[in-house]
């Protein structure tokens, strides 16, 4: 994975904290990564590990405590006012709950036009034509459905509408946070295929956050695995699944429920639950659930390092490929 061009997104040492009853909750803890233009980066991890907060920090929906986020060389974390808004429109985010993210009192066509109206970038016939094109692109018939309200649509259709709205400003980066998690498999497949099609057509770069490992593998070029606010492993999708180097990744894969009756039942399932981010373990944060943990792991936090080109892992004792 050698990159000739500079990455579209460059994230350095990003941390997000929240005040919590007089304590500090570190939701995202010093994550660094890059995303190339046209690439899909998957982000997986158990609930509460900071996936959504990281996505929201990239969008500056929440403020980072430390770190920088560069989009095409422009540091978003230092921008203010108009300059921030201008840069931010090049990034869009879509969320899990498709129905509640749409204003119930607005018609579908007006919802899709919201960004156009906000930026006054199209009006009258041009606005109408843009909305029609966007709706058609996501598989909604504008003539039949454009004047309807969100509640008249299924979850999958509402997610299509959210995607159309996100595409209205022709963003370069689309952050998808659990966008198919609430959908039935048949509809989930439609949306995943739609995202792939739109990505090709618009030259989009995707950050795809989800807890379903199979879904993430199906859509991603590379995958970041998060645990208690940190990226513990980052690798090309196939490598991560074939040869997970971090014990957490291996156990997460072992817990995956595959729609395959021939999958061996005697897999190692990850036991216990993640500790509270208010009081993370010393040293390696995974050590309280790690079967490979030693004294060193309790004393020293492992630094991220490359075990192969493009394969980064934060573990004192990374696992090697079995063969």
């Amino acid at each position: 994975m050698t990159e000739t061009t500079s990455p579209l997104l460059r994230v350095r040492d990003l941390s997000v904290t929240f005040p919590h009853h007089g304590h500090t909750l570190t939701a995202v803890d010093g994550v660094s990564f890059e995303v190339s233009r046209g690439e899909t980066l998957g982000v997986v991890g158990e609930s509460g590990c900071g996936k959504s907060t990281m996505g929201r920090a990239l969008m500056r929906i929440v403020e980072a405590r430390t770190g920088s986020v560069e989009l095409a060389g422009v540091d978003l974390t230092t921008l203010r006012g108009r300059a921030l808004r201008e840069t931010r429109r090049r990034m869009q985010m879509i969320f899990q709950d498709p129905i509640s993210s749409l204003n119930p009192r607005r018609r579908i066509a007006d919802i899709v036009a919201e960004p156009l109206d906000a930026w006054k970038s199209a009006a009258g016939a041009e606005r109408e034509a843009t909305v029609e094109r966007l709706l058609r692109e996501v598989g909604i018939d504008p003539a039949l459905h454009g004047r309807r309200y969100p509640r008249q649509f299924s979850g999958g259709q509402c997610q299509r509408i959210s995607i159309a709205r996100a595409l209205a400003m022709r963003p370069e980066l689309l952050i998808c946070d659990e966008v198919v998690s609430a959908l039935d498999v048949s509809v989930q497949a439609q949306i995943l295929n739609l995202l792939e099609d739109l990505k090709a057509e618009y030259g989009l770069t995707l950050i795809f956050i989800a807890h379903d490992l199979a879904v993430v593998k199906n859509i991603s070029d590379r995958i970041a695995v998060m645990y208690l606010g940190q990226i513990v492993e980052l690798a090309p999708a196939q490598v991560l699944y074939d040869a997970p180097a971090h014990p957490y990744t291996a156990l997460l894969l072992g817990s995956a429920l595959e729609a395959d009756p021939d999958q061996p039942r005697e897999r190692t399932v990850l036991q216990g639950e993640p500790p509270s981010p208010l009081d993370p373990p010393s040293g390696c944060r995974f050590r309280t659930r790690c079967p490979d943990a030693t004294d060193l792991c309790a004393r020293e936090a492992p630094m991220p390092r490359d075990v192969a080109p493009g394969h980064r892992v934060a573990c004192h004792f990374p696992r090697r490929r079995a063969d």
Partner: protein, 335 residues
């Protein structure tokens, strides 16, 4: 053990009176479940899984709901049974675990007390015995430091721990049948795997049968012995789990399997999505409910609903006018 199945369901239908007309959420469902077996019921949202589960329990309200057919549970008829009779069944034969543990737990009562109460009210235990048994049950479902957690309120526990408490309550009456409706939906994969393993261990240990209801084929693939695929209130296909996965005959079963992303797929594998969406049950036509989304549909499919028919195996049945052929001729059936 008698040769009768533990649960025998025949021509079961549940119809709601709605402003838009009658809505048949469960439509002529029949199946058997033997002792110690796990039956998986899979279907997409709105296919009638929860209504079926509640009907099996006798939990449907009497107003605006018509239940026809028969549910024989350990020799007792559930359909039309009196509330007193149902209470007896609920305290000894059958228990249910719902998707959202918060809806089945009292938010302002310590979890231990909630188990106590079931033991005292339904099983006539005294306070001390109930408390001891409650802690035993919390321990049985894998709650660490059970004696301490006995005093916890539901909000102090994680989603996974709450679901374990709900399972403990369900086990209080030592039921012969446990009906679990999406018991792990919304939980992390790691917690899902833990809870499903727990249910299977308990089934074997306590000699229960389990009905496992889910929209997720991954949940049923390795943890059920039999499978029933539902579409729009009807049984699309049913049989031994392995046979349904590998030798399915009904196009919807195939579509469901092929649209599921797999870990073994290479990145950017195009999924075989099913066009359209499940029908509105208040407005379904006379024929096969899958016809509007089925690429094999003919006029006959649109006019007459196919009945369940056995394959070469008497316990593997499907409902389709144009069944997929043998697995070798079925694209995508083997992998």
């Amino acid at each position: 053990m008698s040769d009768q199945p533990l649960l025998s369901v025949r021509h079961l239908s549940t119809t709601f009176a709605t402003p838009a007309g009658p809505l048949r959420a469960v439509d002529d469902v029949s199946f058997d479940l033997d002792a110690h077996e796990t039956l998986g019921i899979v279907g997409e949202s709105g296919s009638g899984k929860t209504v079926l589960a509640r009907t099996l329990m006798g939990l449907q309200p009497r107003l605006n709901v018509e239940v026809t057919g028969s549910v024989q549970l350990a020799g007792h008829e559930v359909v039309g049974a009196s509330t007193a009779r149902l209470r007896e069944l609920w305290s000894s034969e059958v228990a249910m675990v719902f998707q959202d543990p918060m809806t089945s737990l009292n938010p302002v009562m310590r979890v231990g007390r909630q188990i106590d109460e079931v033991l005292r009210v339904r099983h006539g235990m005294d306070r001390a015995a109930a408390r001891a048994r409650a802690i035993e049950l919390l321990d049985l479902v894998g709650i660490p430091s059970a004696a301490q957690r006995y005093r916890a309120y539901p909000f102090e526990l994680s989603g996974g721990m709450r679901q374990r408490v709900v399972i403990a309550i369900a086990l209080a009456g030592q039921p012969r049948l446990l009906i679990a409706d999406e018991p792990t939906t919304g939980l992390d994969v790691t917690i899902q795997a833990q809870i499903l393993d727990l249910l299977d261990t308990l089934r074997a240990q306590l000699g229960m049968s389990v009905v496992m209801i889910t929209h997720d084929l991954g949940v049923v693939a390795t943890r059920t012995s039999r499978l029933l695929v539902m579409y729009a209130g009807r049984v699309a296909e049913t049989g031994p789990t392995g046979d349904v996965f590998r030798h399915h005959r009904m196009p919807y079963t195939r579509a469901l399997l092929e649209s599921s992303p797999k870990l073994s797929n290479a990145p950017h594998t195009r999924l075989a999505a099913i066009p359209g969406q499940p029908p509105n049950l208040a407005r379904v036509g006379p024929g096969c409910h899958f016809a509007p989304r089925c690429d094999l549909a003919s006029d006959r499919c649109r006019e007459v609903a196919p009945a369940l028919e056995p394959t070469e195996r008497p316990d593997h049945l499907f409902a389709c006018w144009h069944p997929l052929r043998t697995p070798s001729e079925t694209p995508g059936a083997s992998s």
